[in-house]
Amino acid sequence: MNTVDNNRKLLMEQSVPGRVGTVLPDLDVPEQPLPGQELLRDEVDLPEITEPEIVRYFTNLSRMNFSIDTHFYPLGSCTMKYNPKINDEAAFLPGFAAIHPQQPVGQVQGALELMHHLQNYLAEITGMAATSLASLAGAQGELCGILMIQKYHRDRGDGDRLKMLVPDSAHGTNPASAAMAGFRVVSIPTDENGNCDLEALKKEATPDLAGMMITLPSTLGLFDPTIVEVNRLIHEAGGLVYADGANMNALLGRVKMGDLGFDVMHLNLHKTFSTPHGGGGPGAGPVCAQPNLQPYLAAPVVEKRAEEGPERFVLSTPEKTIGKVSASHGNFGVLVRAYTYIRTLGDAGLKLVSENAVLNANYILAKLKDKYLLPFDRPCMHEVVLSANWQKAKGVRGLETAKRLLDYGFHAPTMYFPLTVDEALLIEPTETESKETLDEFIEAMRAIDQEATENPELVQNAPHTLPVRRLNEAQAARRPDLRWERKE
């Protein structure tokens, strides 16, 4: 169709010399002498395009996306839940959106108060002693937590604890973060039930052990019942345990990570606390810590002074801080949204989140396990990992199953992750989807299985109904075309 095809013309291809996209004011002060020509540039190669064209272009681009507002989006490990509109409304209030991070604290008490409440809520939810809101995404939270562990060891003269354990099922950011902090990463296998292989773990509990990063529930969607034992083993070996809290949607109000023996963890506000993912961010990855690690939290944190006064809330630097990880205080706009979300749901609502999220996932599990291989036959948490191995036997790969789902109007599950499961399809429905939607999704999954038998080509060549057909990723990587360039 014309509209879609047309819309693939890039801005620079639509540019026409002389067009303007906005009108700026005239200079209202006397003109000042310009610097020497050697400092000035000729012209900037930006498009010349008018407001109507810009609006139509980006509006139509948006229409080529699947999203939570338009589709069921059961992308495992991503917690694609509904993002309430009041959260955005709050973040856009001028008193939040139009304040500068360097204003004296007396001018921004409202913002600091909100951050202080949020720190406390997150500490309470995780059962930890304190929170720093400084880190800007999950991965940066991980880095902070790992640096805290590192500094803790160094401060105790334990600086040659250089080994960090990471389960083989872990999200890629875990080993990457540990490596970024300079640790040697050792992978710990998952046992046949999907839990941590305790024997393997014990073997690695050596004096150079700095700690372990554990995702709970794991990226297999499973709660490891031996978790307390695992944490004990690490502690016994002198290590500390980092919890990747990206999957907290399963556990809100059901268990506190602090109670299980974790020392430090991050939360993904853009998952569990429903701030929109924006096509790839912004997020926020606050870090919560036990008293032992609290002094190491990233700066700044918000403190509330005992006495009333115009500077009741202040920004402070934890005593042994690992430092700053961004120029400001965190992704404040995201924090406002998460705060609004927690206040909306309250204690009762947060508990309902995990109940519904886990029930929804198990319902899918129960309704699909006769058609798709279930690698771990036990109740899952907020997400279920299936395998398309049976379909593969018919000639249809997991990737193709996933792409075919797009034709049915559902976003695909996460594919080929965790890496430990063949042809993995990681399905996370979240609590904001209805039973009706789940039933339709289940029906589609079953229909695709049948298509794999009866008409495998249909599945193999999917998608059929989207703005583009299967894209050539190999070519993209082989001959990188990464920006528009003027044709000579």
């Binding site: 996209g21 906005t22 001018q107 506190k256």
Partner: protein, 444 residues
């Protein structure tokens, strides 16, 4: 209404009703949802949760408005605060476009066919960053300006196989802190040096500079390039993209990596975030670049389409050997910047830069005439400059606030009695003159 307290809480965010959940449980052959949580050690199950009860939207809105209302903001005040976060004009089309659900509530575009919108925007953003910086390749954005610079330093160490990072003392102090947070734990060395004729030690991986620098002045990139090249070190430049509307881009000076804070183009100040880190480099370093990259390709019918590419650099493939741990970044803000940059366009970005330039220089000329104020730094500045004041900047700022003015940044801890003032196209002549007027009350 009377029985309000007694009915179980039903959330407007969760469709399934108790009746439906019962049906679902039955399908699972279970009696209660608790049975699904039995892997949790029983002594830790269902702890108390000390969080306030659910709140209605109506009440919460009032509470939020009160909290927001407790902050002094640029909607109601003139502001001369910059220092890396700027109050620039954002056209009204940005917000309605970025809040379209299809952009706002989609995930990272792993499933390319269902994410062409997000992917094409990323390609536009990469194009725009390259244009602004005069560079060959750019990624789809990092967290923000400071960590983007830190990642550039790490990349320089990878590329050169060296371990010493040199930073000019005119780079933002906070940016330098962030570089240290990222670099020191890995055993890398961070050395600060004077910006006037810096001499890099042998074995330096890179020279980090800021342009315009933290104090608002244009660094001599030509000289810095020579200094870096002498040691085969990479020249890394952190920029303000608005300055790129009028000043020669770092690419033309031979910069190897250019980073920056994208906020100034299209993103509200929001107390410091979410923002968007810019990251551009030379083609030869492409495979060492951190962050997401989007490429153009074709579909099975030959039609143009976009995909995430060169993913083998990234954590989800390369794991501990990835070029960075970054995953979720700031895509929505990259979108905002791309829309704003398109709206400003070739003429508009230059105009924003020039308006800021002329107004800032006009402000300086007025303040320069007030007895007791002086400019400790010589050189060409863009929209910010340092003023030495006849009184403590914090005292002056309190006085300014009474006139509805948010004053400049108090930098007296690095330069006694000095204030870093910023003027942009958002400041009217009236505001500038009011500032000068209020400052003159302290004149000596």
């Amino acid at each position: 209404m009377s029985d309000n307290g007694s009915v179980p809480f039903q959330s407007h965010y969760m469709p399934n009703t108790p009746a439906q959940r019962a049906v679902m449980l039955e399908a699972l052959g279970l009696d209660s949802i608790d049975q699904l949580f039995e892997d949790i050690p029983s002594e830790h199950r269902s702890p108390s949760l000390n969080i306030p009860p659910p709140t209605s939207e109506l009440e919460l809105r009032a509470e939020l408005e009160a909290m927001a209302g407790a902050n002094r903001h640029t909607g109601a005040h003139a502001s001369f605060l910059g220092a890396g976060v700027y109050n620039h004009f954002i056209p009204s089309m940005v917000k309605p476009l970025i809040t379209r659900g299809e952009f706002l509530t989609s995930y990272t575009p792993y499933q390319a066919e269902a994410s062409q919108g997000t992917l094409q925007v990323a390609y536009e953003f990469q194009t725009m960053v390259c244009s602004l910086m005069g560079m060959e390749v750019a990624n789809d954005g990092m967290y923000e300006g400071a960590s983007s610079l830190a990642e550039a330093a790490l990349m320089a160490c990878r590329v050169t196989g060296r371990e010493e990072i040199c930073v000019l003392n005119t780079v933002s102090p906070t940016y330098r802190e962030v570089v240290e947070t990222y670099a020191l734990p890995q055993g890398l060395k961070v050395t600060t040096m004077d910006a006037v004729r810096p001499r890099l030690p042998e074995g330096a991986a890179c020279l980090l500079t800021q342009y315009p620098n933290f104090y608002g002045y244009m660094e001599d990139l030509e000289a810095h390039k020579v200094a870096a090249q002498e040691r085969d070190a990479l020249l890394v430049v952190s920029t303000d993209p608005v300055a790129m509307g009028m000043f020669r881009p770092p690419g033309e000076f031979g910069a190897d990596v250019v980073t920056g804070e994208g906020q100034a183009i299209g993103v509200p100040m929001s107390f410091g975030g979410p923002f968007i880190g810019l990251f551009a480099t030379r083609k030869k370093y492409l495979r060492q670049m951190p962050g997401r990259i989007v490429g153009r390709t074709v579909d099975s019918e030959g039609k143009t389409g976009y995909v995430l590419t060169l993913q083998t650099r990234e954590q989800h493939i390369r794991r501990e050997r990835a070029t960075s741990n970054i995953c979720t970044s700031q895509a929505l803000l990259a979108l905002a910047s791309a829309i704003c940059a398109a709206a400003l366009g070739k003429q508009g970005l230059r105009r924003v830069a020039e308006l800021s330039y002329h107004k800032a220089h006009y402000a300086a000329s007025l303040i320069g005439r007030v007895a007791g104020y002086s400019f400790p730094i010589r050189g060409t500045f863009f929209k910010e400059f340092v003023v030495k004041c006849p009184a403590s900047p914090s005292v002056i700022n309190e006085r300014l606030l009474e006139s509805g003015i948010i004053g400049g940044l108090d930098i007296s801890h690095v330069m006694p009695d000095c204030m870093l003032l910023c003027v942009t196209e958002m400041n009217t002549r009236g505001q500038i003159e009011a500032l000068a007027g209020a400052l003159s009350e302290f004149s000596r």
